[in-house]
Subunit: 575 residues, 2 copies
């Protein structure tokens, strides 16, 4: 198509409200428009990118026997009451009523709808295994939408659900899907996406993986081992700590520590090291505001996901008042109120002579030896891994932490939904069982934005050809020059005849610099410049957006050269 007809305007200034580059470039390049908090419209350029991503996902899902279906965006609350998620999910789930006061929800995932659809179909073991998927809009009322299309409230997602009669069969299929996902990311131009073990959170189930594009703007922390293949989301990463015994346990001693409300204050005041101190982080259960105190070694942070999984309840940071059974700044495990649940992290194991709060304004204990001074001490892994931490796999102190954007996830769901929604099948012997499920998601818009974040320069996105809005961008410099216009027009027509996707800039009165800036923002991989200067030598200029290729071609051969280059770019992606 001709650029002059393309809907969406481009501009030079970086919008003030865009924190990350991909967001800024996609706003500046006429890809997306803000409609409301975490809600965007897609201009044609972005819609072309997302359509191509959808097509790749479809092909790969069909290749592993996926069958495309469509679930509704709006569902009756009863369906979510069956699984229990109507109650268990917080305000991310939008709940509302229709004209007849019937309760409805907006789909944020579709496990319930999937089970509902196949509950009758899947009554005999002979139907298994099968996988259904959809590409559909979803709404999740995120508290903090951010980073443009990376974290939004409304999004297009491919969600797939597989059903199996044995764990082995699920695992076999899970592996297939694992590989299909790697293919999808490779085909989308980001083969560097890695998989990490993840926490399965509210989805239920046990084993799960996330596909992460390592990038400093990512909101996930990824734990990687530099010595072996261990990779995990920080939320799920085991934290191993080895404390060396000092072999001289001192007496428990309550000491006045005026105005020492932080670990640092106390350590400075008592001249002890932070590795011998016990830090308290206080939460409350969402359900009844009961207090939960997490104790970790002074130099560690609490991993709230692990803590929540251990407690088995949703938690929030505590609000401590004068009536609370807790003395802010002086909380310790010894002598703590029995109204409070407390958890000791494994990082506290084997520390002699801890410094800890005395649960009394202005006092701390020294010489606290947990196993000596408390009853029935058990340690739970509730702390975050630190840089140079011990790898749970190869046991070397080789862990490193990177940021990543989650571009996909796969879960082994088990029977959480089939049991709660009473979906059963009859096996060969006539015995009833709950089928075992897997589920598999990819956010389409987030993937587009992530690729942009991973592949861009200061002038715009550098789209991989497989998901680029067009394959070729022709700039006709000086379309008022008759020969130049003729050559550019002819090349445009020739490429179209050969089914090449071309965006053609033949705008009058636009300088070359502006044309190139626009082309950079649209980020098409192959650029062709037709100008009077090049034509003097009978040439047109062909280059790639990433600058790896730049050549002059004879006018007569330009079409062929361009098509060869396109083929090469596809081959590089698919190699």
């Amino acid at each position: 198509m001709k650029l002059k007809h393309l809907v969406g305007q481009r501009f030079k200034e970086r919008p003030a409200d865009c924190v990350i580059d991909s967001h800024a470039l996609m706003v500046r390049g006429g890809y997306m428009k803000y409609v409301g908090n975490g809600i965007f419209s897609e201009f044609p350029v972005l819609r072309r990118v997302t359509s191509k991503i959808e097509a790749i996902i479809r092909e790969e899902m069909n290749a592993i026997e996926g069958q495309e279906v469509l679930f509704p965006v709006v569902m009756p609350a009863e369906l979510w009451e069956e699984s229990g998620r109507y109650q268990s999910i917080g305000s991310e789930l939008v709940r509302f009523s229709d004209r007849n006061r019937s309760k409805l929800v907006l789909g944020m995932t579709h496990e319930e709808a999937a089970v509902h659809l196949v509950r009758e179909f899947g009554q005999s073991y002979q139907q298994y295994p099968f996988m259904i998927y959809q590409i559909q809009r979803k709404f999740r009322d995120e508290a903090r939408p951010r980073a443009g299309m990376i974290r939004v409230r409304e999004f297009t997602m491919k969600d797939a659900y597989s059903f199996h009669t044995s764990q082995e069969d699920l695992e076999q299929y899970y592996k297939k899907c694992y590989d299909a996902y790697n293919k999808i990311f490779k085909r989308a131009g980001v083969p560097e996406v890695i998989t990490v073990a993840s926490d399965s959170g509210m989805m239920g189930g046990s084993l799960s993986h996330e596909y992460m594009l390592l990038n400093e703007v990512g909101e996930d922390s990824i734990v990687l081992c530099t010595e072996c293949n261990y990779r995990a989301n920080m939320e799920a990463a085991d934290n191993l700590v080895e404390n060396v015994a000092k072999n001289d346990k001192t007496e428990l001693c309550c000491i006045e520590t005026p105005d020492c409300k932080t670990i640092e204050d106390v350590c400075a005041f008592l001249k002890s090291d932070v590795e011998s101190s016990c830090k308290a982080v206080v939460y409350q259960k969402n359900i009844d505001d009961a207090f939960v105190v997490a104790f970790v070694r002074g130099d560690y942070e609490v991993n709230e996901t692990k803590l929540r999984n251990f407690i088995g309840e949703e938690l929030h940071p505590a609000e401590i008042t004068e009536d609370s059974p807790i003395v802010a700044g002086y909380i310790g495990p010894y002598g703590i109120s029995d109204q409070v649940t407390f958890v000791l992290d494994t990082s506290l194991k084997g520390i002699d002579n801890l410094v800890a709060g005395a649960n009394k304004e202005g006092y701390h204990y020294t010489g606290l030896n947990l196993e000596r001074d408390l009853c029935n001490v058990t340690y739970v892994d509730i702390a975050k891994v630190k840089e140079n931490g011990i790898c749970p796999c190869c046991k070397k102190p080789a862990l490193t932490i990177k940021r990543g954007i989650e571009v996909g996830n796969i879960f082994q769901l088990g029977t959480k939904y089939t049991e709660s929604m009473n979906m059963q099948y009859v096996d060969k012997e006539g015995v009833q069982h709950y089928p075992i499920m897997g589920c598999y998601g990819i956010g389409v818009g987030r993937l587009a934005a992530s690729v942009c974040e991973a592949k861009h320069d200061e002038y715009g996105p550098i789209w991989p050809i497989s998901i680029a809005p067009w394959e070729v961008h022709i700039c006709c410099i000086r379309p008022d020059d008759e020969e130049t216009k003729q050559v550019a027009d002819a090349l445009y027509e020739e490429l179209l005849r050969n089914k090449v996707e071309v965006i053609y800039d033949d705008r009058d009165g636009i300088r070359g610099g502006q044309m190139f800036a626009d082309a950079d923002l649209i980020g098409v991989p192959v650029r062709v410049v037709v100008s009077p200067r090049n034509l003097k030598e009978g040439k047109v200029e062909i280059s790639t957006r990433d600058k790896s290729v730049s050549m002059m071609a004879d006018v007569a051969e330009a079409g062929t050269r361009i098509r060869e280059l396109i083929e090469r770019l596809y081959a590089e992606i698919n190699q």
Copy 2:
């Protein structure tokens, strides 16, 4: 794919809750599943049909320079407040709040979102004209969802919006879109879809057309002229009435008519004919419950759409109480309370000596001559056309009324949205104007269901090949017979290699009758039966779902014959 893996079960019994055939067949055939009132999931068979419809729509929209975009399903209320529709639309518009108590709506159409998207882009006349469209889910809280996918609450819709700098330009584009729509319906296998002039209702604007598939299950009444090309939706059809003057005006006379509360009672009692009587139908304005009385000739019915358009307010049938300024059963235009707005239909023009209520319990007037007895009489067209009514076009009494399903609509919107949302462009002379809009919709699921309703027999849908879930359905009768299975397998593989879409039924232990019943429900246009009996003569049977073709082909030539048949079926549609 193999039928044994297809997700979705088929069954024989017509579900009791299905009123129309297409709904019953699509439930029995494993196309759709009820999720909630007016909310359905699509099984793979239907998703294949809707995907093909979407692809046809996309191609035709792109062919008229449409650019695909994507608007959100969920929009902030402010956007709809700008256009005024947040207030003006009734409970079909779902309104709810998010976690921050921000007001949101679910998109039922996207005029606001379209204007919002291009408001900055469209600031110069040089950008015009342009058209953007999307294929997206929508939710409309219908009071009475019915007829399966025909009238639902959640649906996939293609909605397009064009922007112009002059009415002429809009009309030119409108004509293009008008033709593109005819192509879409032709390509979807229903060339018999007709266009009718329609009422533009809450969309605003003036000229509009609906695309109607004439069918007795349709909920729209279509007025057609048997003598000329006039076609209109009943809501919009002009009603012409010619009353012959009697030339002997009698005196106005108030007569006691005890227990005569209906037109029929009064006419019988007074021995007058119904064509000389004046019928009253009473409404109230939604806004303040003020009474509006519509008077029509005794044998006509009120067209509420025309009445509402004339009054300019939403109306509802009146609730008349003892306090009302109205005497139920005895309402007439002469002497009616001045608290009441009344409208005289054109069918009353030229009637001498009307019988009409006297606005007094138990009394009617005879000899009422409106233009003699009332002041400033004007007549307004507010009645429904009747069978054999006068055509507004050729003036012959040749109107007939049919039922139709609306499968698409196109509107000339004018500047309703650009004015209210203050979208302006600067013309060549630097003067600001509001662009003129058109909008164009097609419901994807409704079109699928309508085609099914128009093309089916008692055994299942008869899908046109262009939107059929597959092109060929192979039934392997007796797959336990080695040769039969080999021939069927080979044919399946050959067709797949040639990019033919095949559903292959090689289920063990299923009788031919069951296979054929399943094939009928899936409705694939070309059926191939491979059976031991035919193979004895070296043949396979090839037929079409609509029974127009039935032939035996040599095994070696079967693949070729099938592909020729497929080509012919496509050619028939595209001819």
